[in-house]
């Protein structure tokens, strides 16, 4: 598996660390109830197919990336800097 870092280009899997599903970017507020926190921390859609997740380019630029990836084929379908993805969504 190779992941295209928006800053560093096409790089080997060894340089990256998986950081879990992209829902980690949408942390519920301090006043959120237990169910919202449970969903955020534990419950997962866990799709077989395209999914969105976070990867850190640890051995490169150290940026957090939001990656669209197919969990069945391991194909990378798209990458963006997590910070920019967040701004775009926000």
């Amino acid at each position: 598996m190779r992941i295209t870092c928006p800053l560093c280009g096409d790089r080997d899997l060894r340089e990256f660390t998986y950081g879990g599903a992209a829902v980690y970017m949408d942390r519920p507020g301090a006043d959120a109830d237990l169910d919202a926190l449970d969903a955020y921390l534990h419950l997962r859609d866990n799709p077989a197919g395209p999914t969105e997740e976070l990867w850190s380019h640890d051995m490169g630029c150290r940026a957090w990336l939001k990656v669209r990836r197919d969990t069945v084929t391991h194909e990378i379908l798209g990458t963006a800097l997590a910070a920019e993805a967040k701004r775009g969504a926000g």
Partner: protein, 416 residues
């Protein structure tokens, strides 16, 4: 068909023509009391104990492929009871006791081999942690012996004891730990369940779960709809997808775990050896292949194959620990899909839907659990109350904070 010495002799003298299939191949009926989704180790053992312990035989196991074609036939077959936490400890202890009587129980040779498991340690701190674990195991009624360096050398003379990064300080020996023949476990339970009247239905994928007014009423399958009063989801790595058919999200993320086997060799590794610091463990199969593996690939996957970095890492760790294996040629590698929970422990529980139950979250340790999981899941389904040794495997324990984090690595699915 039962096995006996007499039968073997007779078949040997008459050209082996009298053996018949182990189980029937029934068409699905329209209606069952209980439907189990998934014909892996856990689904089959659940079916067996529903019939055996609870007299419930109007039961079907629906398997989308063939029986035993999932993780139960893909794992590295280690069977042990060396857990630490209250909740895990009783459960795996119960499971190991069931393993010890399994061949008699099923009249089937599952090749359970209690060759001893040694977990190595490489520092004083780790020694203390293993001493504590060993004491917990002994308190639970299981066996554990703390070995010093020379003690390990008597068992495993071929290790590189003076490795600079991880010198071997000693090990925790669990004499009753060992391995078993994975396929035979599935087949033995399947035959036992079939003989008691359970329908084992292969090539039957569940595509929907019917719920009406908060109660399960049946399932949709590729072989037509089937009504049921109770439905159990026992689909390991596919649990998330199957639960989604009932509108549920589980605390599970599916990950890939790889394993490797070499060409057959003369007996050389007599134990199961676990080198936790290097993320490597190994045993030798009865055919002679060295069977070994390491950690998850650490990203979500349904691919049943991993990537090269973890393969390389596992080989490196093996070479670090026991350089002698470097000459063996690797024959095959493969991957299986692991249902990872946020604390690394399983779930055996009811759901918020009446009559719908789940048995999942086995992570990479569910083979040893096959007997006790079936025992406890059958109890739960039959009596609608948890079995005492599985009472902590609650579906809502993450929400309530009652985690069973055996390794203390924290609440994320890929950390266990």
């Amino acid at each position: 068909m039962r096995y006996s010495a007499l039968r073997l002799l007779k078949e040997g003298l008459t050209g082996q023509k009298g053996w018949t299939p182990h189980w029937r191949d029934p068409a699905p009926k329209d209606d069952y009391d209980i439907v189990l989704i998934g014909g892996g180790g856990h689904g089959l053992s659940t079916a067996y104990y529903l019939a055996k312990n609870h007299g419930l035989t109007n039961v079907a196991v629906l398997e989308k492929g063939y029986l035993g074609g999932g993780n139960v036939g893909r794992n590295t077959t280690i069977v042990r009871a060396n857990y630490f936490l209250d909740g895990n400890s009783q459960f795996y202890s119960h499971s190991l006791k069931l393993w010890e009587g399994l061949e008699q129980e099923l009249n089937y040779n599952v090749m359970h081999s209690q060759r001893g498991l040694i977990n190595l340690f490489h520092s004083d701190g780790q020694r203390d942690a293993f001493a504590r674990r060993g004491n917990a195991m002994v308190n639970q009624g299981d066996d554990a012996i703390l070995l010093d360096r020379e003690g390990v050398r008597e068992h495993l003379p071929y290790l590189d004891f003076d490795n600079t990064r991880f010198p071997v300080y000693g090990g925790l020996l669990h004499p009753r730990g060992g391995t078993a023949r994975h396929d035979a476990v599935a087949w033995g339970y399947a035959r036992g369940a079939d003989r008691r009247g359970v329908d084992l239905i292969q090539n039957c994928e569940v595509t929907g779960i019917d719920v009406a007014a908060g109660r399960v009423t049946g399932v949709q399958t590729t072989r037509g709809p089937i009504r049921a009063r109770k439905v159990g989801i026992v689909t390991a790595g596919r649990s998330g997808q199957v639960a989604a058919m009932a509108g549920m999200r589980l605390p599970i993320e599916s990950h890939v775990l790889q394993a490797f086997v070499t060409e057959g060799l003369k007996p050389v590794i007599d134990h199961v050896v676990s080198f936790g610091m290097g993320h490597f463990y190994i045993s030798q199969s009865d055919k002679g292949g060295l069977v070994f593996g390491g950690d998850l690939d650490f990203y979500a996957s349904y691919a049943q194959r991993g990537n090269l970095p973890m393969a390389e890492h596992v080989m490196e760790a093996g070479m670090t620990l026991m350089p002698m294996i470097g000459k063996a040629r690797v024959l095959r590698s493969w991957g299986g899909i692991m249902d990872m929970t946020p604390d690394g422990s399983p779930i055996i529980d009811k759901t918020h839907i009446d009559g719908l139950y789940v048995d999942c979250g086995w992570c990479y340790g569910g083979f040893k659990a096959v007997p006790a999981s079936g025992w406890c899941f059958a109890h739960l389904i039959a009596r609608d109350a948890p079995h005492e040794v599985a009472a902590k495997y609650r579906l809502d324990r993450f929400r309530t904070g009652h985690l069973l984090d055996e390794e203390g690595t924290g609440s994320q699915h890929n950390l266990h």
